[in-house]
C-alpha cells in the first residue's frame, strides 16, 4: 500500500490563501487505509481550514467529497460538478491521485498529503517501508527481505561496515537490512545464497518515466 501523511496545516493554508472556495478531495483507496486522506480526514481538514480562516477574519467555503480512487479517470469524473464550482482543490490522495486530478481539473490542485513510501501497516497508526518499486525484484535472492528498501544505502551486496549488533549506523532504531537478510537465510538454511554477487540493477528508467503497456489487454479505441 502507498503510505502518506497529512501535510502541516500551515502549508495547506498558504497554498489556498488567495481563494474563497475550495474543494477538499479524498480518496477511498490507499490513503483511507493509511488514515491520511479518507472521508474522515477530509472532514477534519475541511473543518480545520474553516476554523483557521474564520479566526483570521477571512472566511472560506470548503466543499468535501471523496471518491473511490483518484488514480482512475472514471472516478475522478465524479468530482466534475464540485471542481467547476470552486477556485482550487486540496487533494488528500497520494502523489499519483493529486497529479491525475490536477491533469483533469480546470482549477489548481494542491497536495494535502506528503506521499511517503510503499509499506505495510504493522498495526493501527504504524507503518513501515517494504518496497522501492525498483522494477527488478531480487527478493528470491535475499530471503524475501528487500535490500533496496530495508538497507539504508540500498546495497545489493551487504552489509557494510556500519552494521553493528543488528542495527544500522543511521540510527539505533533502524534494523540493518542485511542483518535481517542474513538471519532469514540462516533460518531457511540458504546461507550459500550470500555467495552470489548480485550485479548492479537496471533501474528501468533508461527510457525515462516508466509506463506499462500490455498489448494483449489494451482496448483499440479511436
Amino acid at each position: 500500500m502507498i503510505v502518506a501523511e497529512r501535510k502541516p496545516i500551515e502549508k495547506v493554508l498558504e497554498m489556498i490563501a488567495p481563494y474563497k472556495k475550495v474543494l477538499v478531495a479524498g480518496c477511498y483507496g490507499c490513503v483511507t487505509v493509511c488514515l491520511a486522506g479518507g472521508e474522515k480526514e477530509v472532514g477534519i481538514l475541511a473543518s480545520q481550514i474553516r476554523l483557521a480562516r474564520s479566526k483570521d477574519g477571512n472566511p472560506i467555503e470548503v466543499v468535501e467529497q471523496t471518491v473511490e480512487r483518484q488514480c482512475d479517470a472514471e472516478y475522478l469524473a465524479k468530482f466534475q460538478d464540485n471542481v467547476s464550482s470552486v477556485e482550487a482543490v486540496v487533494s488528500l490522495a497520494c502523489g499519483i491521485g493529486i497529479q491525475y486530478l490536477a491533469e483533469k481539473s480546470p482549477v489548481p490542485v494542491f497536495p494535502g498529503v506528503n506521499t511517503l513510501f510503499l509499506g505495510a501497516n504493522l498495526d493501527v497508526g504504524k507503518w513501515a517501508e517494504r518496497c522501492f518499486a525498483c522494477g527488478d525484484c531480487v527478493l528470491d535472492k535475499t530471503g524475501g527481505i528487500c535490500p533496496i528498501a530495508r538497507c539504508s544505502k540500498s546495497l545489493l551486496n551487504g552489509p557494510c561496515g556500519g552494521s553493528q549488533y543488528g542495527k544500522c549506523e543511521v540510527s539505533k532504531d533502524v534494523d540493518c537490512g542485511w542483518q535481517l537478510i542474513y538471519d532469514r537465510l540462516k533460518a531457511l538454511g540458504q546461507l550459500d545464497k550470500l555467495k552470489e554477487i548480485i550485479p548492479a540493477k537496471n533501474w528501468k528508467r533508461d527510457k525515462g518515466p516508466r509506463t506499462l503497456v500490455r498489448e494483449e489487454l489494451t482496448l483499440e479505441r479511436d
Partner: protein
C-alpha cells in the same frame, strides 16, 4: 427529515409534573401545534404520569394503540424515568424506544417545547425500525480446566446443554472423578486450546490433541483454570516444610485425623490480598474442633471476613473454642522433629515479651498464582489478562464472569482467588449466560453498527480497535465495492461502544441511535459549552449535577455517547465550527472504561484535536478532558465552572464559522 415509517407508532405524553411545567409552558397549546404538524399515533396531557394508576393506563394505551415508541415530555427524575422504561420493556420495547424530553429546562416557553419535541420526533423517525435477527447457534459449551471448579461449572451447565471439558495437564484434573458418568459431559484429556475463530454462539475452537490439529464448534467457552497454591518460604523466614510444618493445601488434603493434636494456622504472610486462605482456614479450624483437636490457633494480622459466610464461620469458630491471636510485625518460626513453634508480638500488650506457641502442626497459608497455562490460553482465546497475571482487568465496570469477548466466561479462581459461595454464584450466572444458546437459536435486536460497503476500504482499523473482537471482514459478491468485502459487526459479540465508528477513516460505520447525523444534529446550534459525556459516567454525573446546580445548565449542552470511544474528532471540531467556545470530553476514570479502552482512545483524540487547534493559532485549552465517575455530580459542576471561567478568560472562539 427521513421519510416517515408507518411501522413506527409513537405515543406522546405531555406531563405537567403536578403543575410545575404549566407555569412556563401552555401544554394545551403544545399539544395543538404538535397535533397539526407531527406524525404520531397518540397524544395525551397528564397532570402526573408517575402516578400508580397512570402507569397502568400507559400500559393499556400501549396495547390499545399498538405503540412501539414513547416520547415522554416532563420532569427529569431518573427514578421515575426508570419506572416508565420498565413499563415499556414489559411491552416489548427496548430502552432505545423511549425518549424523554426535559420540559423543566426548556427556554422560550411553549414554542421552545414544541421545537424540542419535534426534534426528538424527527430523531425517532430517523432511527427507523430495529430488526430482530434470529441467529442459529451451537448449544455445546467448552469448559477449559478439569479441576473442581471446572467440574462444578460443567455439571451445572450440562443440565441444559452438552459440555466438553478440556485439560492440558492430566496431573491436576482432580475434578474429573466428579463428572465421571455424568450425562451430557465429555472429556478431552491431554488436549490444548490453540486458537479460536468466530463469535459468541458460533465459535470454532482449534485444539492440539495428541499432536493433531482438531477443530470443534462451541456456542460458548468457560474458562475454569484453577489458581495454584505456591509455598514461598521467604515469607516464613525461610522455614522448610516437613512433618510438622504443612502448607494449607497439604493440610486440607490430609487423610489422618488430628484428634487430640494442637494445630496453629498462620494467616497474613502470604496471599495477603485475597480471602481464599481465610475462608479455607476458618472451615478447617471448625472441622478440626468438631473432630476433637486439642487446640486450634489462628494467628492473623487482619482477619479478613468480607465475603458471604466468612463472618458467620468466624463466629462459629470462636464459639467452638478456636483461639484467634493477633500478631504484629515479624513472626519467628522454629521447627523440631516433634513440634513446631512460632514466636510473635501481640499488638496491644507491647510491654510483654514476644509470645510463643508450640503446636504439633503448623499450617501456613500459600500464595495463589495463576495456572501456568493462563498466558498461553489468553493469547489463544484473544482475551485480556489483569493484575498478577490472572484473567480479567481490574475494572469496576466489568461483570465478574465476563471476559472482554462475548461468549467467553470466567468461573472461579482463574480470575483471582475466590472461595466457595462466590464460585457457586459465578456458576449460576454463567449457566444463565450460556443457557441463551441451549435451544440452538438466539433472537437479538440488530443494534450493532452498520457498515456502508461502498465506503468500507477493508482497512482493518475497526477490526483492530474493537475491544471485544466483535468484527470480521466478510466477503460477499453482493457487497458493492472493489473488494466485494466489508467489515461486519457480529450482533451477538458487539457491545455497542461505537469505538469502531469513531475510528473508521472512511466514515463507513454508523452506530444505531448514535449515528454521526444524530449526534451532529444535536449540536446544530450549540451553546457556549458542549460536553460529550459517556453514558456510563459523565452523562450520569451530569444528571446529578443538574439537581445540584440547575443554573449552570444554561450555557451547557450535554451530548450523550455510549462510550467516550465514540467521541469522534469531527464532533469536537464541528462544535467549535458551529459556535461553541469550549468542548468537554467527560470520560470514565482510567482503567475503568466499560469497553476496555474507549477512554484511552478519547484521550488520544483530545490530544489530536488540541494539536489541530494549536497549529492554526486557536487556544487548545478550549478542549477539556475530564475523568469522572457517575456519582461525581459536584466534580462535574466544578469542571463546567472551570471551563466557563477558562473560556471567559480566552474570550469568544475566533474560529467559529458565521454564516
Amino acid at each position: 427529515m427521513a421519510k416517515n415509517n408507518k411501522n413506527i407508532r409513537i405515543g406522546i405524553y405531555l406531563c405537567d409534573c403536578d403543575g410545575k411545567i404549566s407555569k412556563n409552558i401552555d401544554l394545551e397549546k403544545v399539544k395543538t401545534v404538535i397535533q397539526s404538524e407531527a406524525d404520531f399515533e397518540y397524544i395525551r396531557i397528564t397532570s402526573a404520569l408517575c402516578g400508580k394508576i397512570e402507569k397502568e393506563k400507559l400500559a393499556g394505551e400501549i396495547d390499545k394503540y399498538s405503540l412501539n415508541r414513547l416520547l415522554i415530555a416532563g420532569c427529569t427524575d431518573q427514578f421515575i424515568r426508570r419506572q416508565f422504561l420498565q413499563v415499556a420493556e414489559e411491552k416489548g420495547m427496548t430502552r432505545y424506544d423511549v425518549e424523554f424530553v426535559d420540559l423543566s429546562s426548556v427556554q422560550d416557553g411553549s414554542e421552545g417545547a414544541v421545537a424540542v419535541i419535534n426534534s426528538v420526533l424527527a430523531k425517532i423517525q430517523l432511527r427507523g425500525e430495529i430488526v430482530i435477527e434470529e441467529i442459529e447457534v451451537t448449544p455445546q459449551v467448552l469448559v477449559i480446566g478439569c479441576g473442581k471448579e471446572g467440574a462444578k461449572a460443567a455439571l451445572a451447565i450440562a443440565k441444559n446443554q452438552p459440555v466438553v471439558m478440556v485439560e492440558g495437564d492430566p496431573g491436576v484434573a482432580d475434578g474429573i472423578p466428579l463428572v465421571k458418568g455424568a450425562p451430557n459431559i465429555s472429556i478431552k484429556a491431554g488436549a490444548r486450546v490453540a486458537g479460536i475463530e468466530g463469535f459468541a454462539g458460533n465459535f470454532t475452537v482449534r485444539f492440539i490433541e495428541n499432536g493433531q490439529l482438531v477443530k470443534q464448534k462451541f456456542g460458548a467457552v468457560v474458562v475454569a483454570l484453577e489458581a495454584q497454591p505456591v509455598y514461598d518460604k521467604s515469607k516464613y523466614g525461610g522455614l522448610e516444610l516437613g512433618e510438622h510444618v504443612l502448607t494449607l493445601s497439604q493440610f486440607l488434603a490430609r487423610e489422618k485425623s488430628f484428634s487430640g493434636q494442637k494445630v496453629t494456622f498462620v494467616l497474613g504472610k502470604a496471599d495477603a490480598d485475597s480471602l481464599l486462605s481465610y475462608a479455607k482456614t476458618l472451615e478447617a479450624a471448625i472441622d478440626l474442633k468438631e473432630k476433637g483437636a486439642a487446640e486450634v490457633n489462628i494467628l492473623y494480622e487482619d482477619m479478613k471476613v468480607s465475603a458471604d459466610q466468612l463472618e458467620q464461620n468466624y463466629e462459629i469458630a470462636r464459639a467452638k473454642g478456636v483461639n484467634f491471636l493477633k500478631y504484629v510485625g515479624e513472626i519467628e518460626f522454629y521447627s523440631t522433629v516433634i513440634a513446631a513453634t512460632v514466636q510473635y508480638r501481640e499488638p496491644f500488650l507491647t510491654q510483654l515479651d514476644p509470645l510463643r506457641i508450640t503446636s504439633d502442626y503448623l499450617v501456613l497459608a500459600e500464595d495463589y498464582v495463576p495456572s501456568p497455562e493462563t498466558k498461553e490460553l489468553a493469547d489463544a482465546l484473544e482475551i485480556r489478562l489483569g493484575p498478577a497475571g490472572f484473567f480479567q482487568d481490574d475494572n469496576v465496570h466489568f461483570l465478574p464472569v465476563k471476559s472482554n469477548r462475548e461468549g467467553i466466561y470466567f468461573v472461579g479462581s482463574c480470575h483471582g482467588p475466590i472461595h466457595g459461595v462466590e464460585i457457586d454464584r459465578e456458576v449460576a450466572t454463567v449457566v444463565a449466560e450460556v443457557g441463551r444458546f441451549a435451544s440452538g437459536k438466539v433472537k437479538v435486536p440488530a443494534l450493532q453498527p452498520r457498515v456502508d460497503p461502498e465506503k468500507c476500504a477493508v482497512c482493518l482499523t475497526c477490526y483492530r480497535t474493537c475491544p471485544h473482537k466483535a468484527i470480521e471482514i466478510v466477503h460477499d459478491e453482493s457487497l458493492n465495492n472493489l473488494y466485494h468485502s466489508a467489515a461486519r459487526m457480529n450482533p451477538l459479540a458487539c457491545r455497542r461502544c461505537g469505538t469502531c465508528a469513531a475510528e473508521c477513516p472512511g466514515k463507513a460505520i454508523q452506530l444505531p441511535y448514535y449515528s454521526d447525523q444524530e449526534i451532529l444534529q444535536e449540536i446544530s446550534k450549540p451553546p457556549k459549552i458542549v460536553a460529550y459525556a459517556c453514558e456510563n459516567s459523565g452523562f450520569l454525573a451530569s444528571e446529578y449535577a443538574k439537581e445540584l446546580d440547575p443554573e449552570l445548565q444554561e450555557n451547557l449542552q450535554i451530548v450523550r455517547v455510549p462510550c467516550s470511544g465514540k467521541i469522534d474528532v469531527i464532533y469536537l471540531l464541528k462544535a467549535l465550527e458551529r459556535g461553541a467556545d469550549g468542548v468537554m470530553l467527560l470520560v470514565c476514570h482510567k482503567e475503568n472504561c466499560k469497553f476496555v479502552w474507549g477512554n484511552e482512545r478519547a484521550e488520544k483524540r483530545k490530544g489530536q484535536v488540541r494539536k489541530l487547534l494549536k497549529d492554526i493559532g486557536l487556544e487548545e485549552e478550549r478542549i477539556d478532558f475530564v475523568h469522572i465517575a457517575a456519582n461525581q455530580g459536584n466534580q462535574f459542576n466544578a469542571a463546567v465552572r472551570a471551563m466557563a471561567e477558562r473560556i471567559h478568560q480566552l474570550g469568544t472562539n475566533a474560529g467559529k464559522v458565521i454564516k
